[in-house]
Amino acid sequence: MQTKPASFLLALFCALSGSASAAQDSWQDGEWTAETTLQLRHFPHDPLPQNNLQHNNSASLAMQLEYYAAWDNYDKSLTFTPFVRLDQHDEERSHADLREFSYQQVFSSWELRLGISKVFWGVTESQHLVDVINQTDQVENIDGEDKFGQPMIKASMERDWGILDLFILPGFRERSFQGIEGRPRPLLVVDTDQAAYESPDKQRHIDYALRWFNYLGDIEIGLSYFNGTSREPLLIPGSNNSSPVLIPYYPLMQQAGLDAQLTTAEWLWKLELIARDWQALDNSAQLVDQRFVALTGGFEYTFVGVAQSDADLGLVAEYLYDDRNEEATSFFQNDLLFGLRLAMNDAQSSEALLGVIHDLDNQEFMLSLEASRRFAHHWTASLEIRSFNRVDNNSPLAAIARDDFVQLDITRYF
């Protein structure tokens, strides 16, 4: 188990036991659900010579449980969602986390969530610039969609003028990185044991954030502000027992974000824009203050009932920009995503998403295919293919240029 703010959980338990005993009569039965996934990965290319501990095939098993109980007419609820993965080779990928362990109470004009939880901000598909509350569980998948549970006190008000969410975030979660046998990963192993922080309080720094959201007819707008330790670390060259490693360094940051979506009958127009003040590494690997702006913008157009079938075909196009250019810590500074989303709308919920992200500066492109289907009432299968093409030797992608992979997930739900 990773970082666990014990005192926070204790406070949560106290709050809970008080409320539960006062409301025993209206307690609704708690419910356990579970899902377990067998995952197989195949890497068709051999690893780089210096990474010869990596493997071409790997298997892993993941399990997620969820307990949910609500009482007082659903005004009070408890959610508990432990997650664990065991990986055949990568000891860093074998990990466990509390995705959720929170208590929620709804009052007449606001609601409160207390505990470990997850929030999502934003609208775009290719990357999630404004979404900065939860740390990325990067060993799960390199697409950044998997998140660690974040300890939080969240208050939310929903009024005529929109929704206002206030967050106090005690307890920092480190990003997970693949171990020496893990794949794909940077050329050097990221030594998470040496993680460093700008804040002298390190993982105990208390972050805060707020977000306002409203919609007016077809337009939805969110404005957000975050002040605290960046979820994204800088990776600084260092050593461990005289072998070279990368050391994650988490600077403090302030980030303002805007996300907006315009929805019409066939079109979804999307925009995410951020401005961030934090530290960056200059050419001589010194930490300097930096302000940058990044955006993702584009559209999704859906053809309903293509070729007189029940299927929908969506076209997704997004432009990804970062004004740091080559110094950007993300892969995307001047890139274009083009995607095709096929939903068969059949009894098996068959779906596929094909995406190409093309770097307009150096012609690299990343290809991904995700397809899924339910093959029995309690079973689904999903297939994922990722490949990295025309990668320049000086590109940040060079480390994973030979890490194309095919992944099959078989999930059983309980």
Binding site: E35, L268, R374
Partner: protein
């Protein structure tokens, strides 16, 4: 009183138009059959007005040509909105891979519906395009437009004839979707003369060929006024597939408010 405010609205707008255009001819000259059809539709609507809110559970059984079945279970809550389409929140319980997914719909008579989807694995609320009313609901033979809030303004009408359907004295009314992206050219509806509730609907596709037939059965009356079917059975004549929708646990006037149909309540749905 609510019924009257609803009926007042079209009259008011008609009044407004005639004030603005005092010398214009009537916009649409109704035939007797059209006037009769609209009158019946208004009576159906009037008799189902005033339910305020309801909650219910629904089980769907999908059957393909080979007779293989699959099951879906959802819970739904609906808030009546006088003078506009209703608000509804639907929570998906089964199949288990979509458990916890929820959708929030503000339906409108003539404007496109507003619709949001909550994806629990990502904790993401997505505003989705509402054009897809003709698409299948959860892979079933029901399209979204078949199960969404039925407002008088969603169709134009034409009374066809009286007919006895399985011993039930019925009006047969043809209706034409006003929504341009509807999957149908027309629907033929059998309406129970006594209770003004639909008993059967034939759906004709965009090529005007008979596509599906919906039969209502096991009607029960709630609060001495509102009729709801226990079973809705839809057969697709072109594919041989069918879907049986079974309703249970109907509860009316449960005290739901606007607050239960908000973006935050969608995220709380469980």
């Amino acid at each position: 009183m609510k019924i009257f405010t609803q009926l007042k609205q079209p009259l008011y707008s008609l009044l407004l138009i005639s004030t603005l255009l005092p010398f214009s001819t009537p916009i649409h000259a109704q035939t007797d059959a059209e006037a009769r059809g609209l009158e019946i539709a208004r009576e159906v609507d009037k008799r189902d007005t005033g339910f305020v809110d309801f909650t219910a559970s629904m089980k769907m059984e999908l059957k393909n040509q080979q007779g293989q079945t699959s099951v879906r279970e959802v819970r739904a809550q609906t808030l009546e909105v006088i003078g506009d389409g209703d608000k509804s929140l639907t929570i998906f319980d089964s199949p288990p891979d979509i458990r916890g997914t929820a959708s929030l719909t503000f339906s409108h008579a003539l404007q496109p519906d507003e619709q949001w989807l909550y994806l629990p694995a990502l904790k993401r609320v997505k505003r989705i395009s509402s054009k897809n009313k003709s698409g299948p609901f959860m892979g079933s033979e029901f399209a979204y437009e078949d199960i969404s809030s039925q407002e008088v303004e969603k169709y134009t009408y034409k009374y066809l004839r009286d007919e006895t359907l399985d011993g039930i004295d019925s009006f047969v009314v043809e209706r034409y979707p006003a929504y341009e992206h509807s999957g149908y050219t027309r629907q033929v509806v059998w309406i129970n003369k006594q209770e003004y509730r639909p008993e059967k609907i034939d759906f004709y596709d965009r090529k005007n060929t008979l596509l599906k037939t919906l039969n209502y059965s096991g009607y029960q009356q709630y609060l001495d006024k509102f009729w709801r079917p226990d079973v809705m059975h839809m057969v697709n004549h072109q594919t041989g597939k069918s879907t049986t929708l079974s309703w249970s646990d109907y509860q009316f006037k449960t005290g739901l408010t606007e607050r239960d149909f908000s973006r935050n309540s969608l995220k709380r749905a469980h």
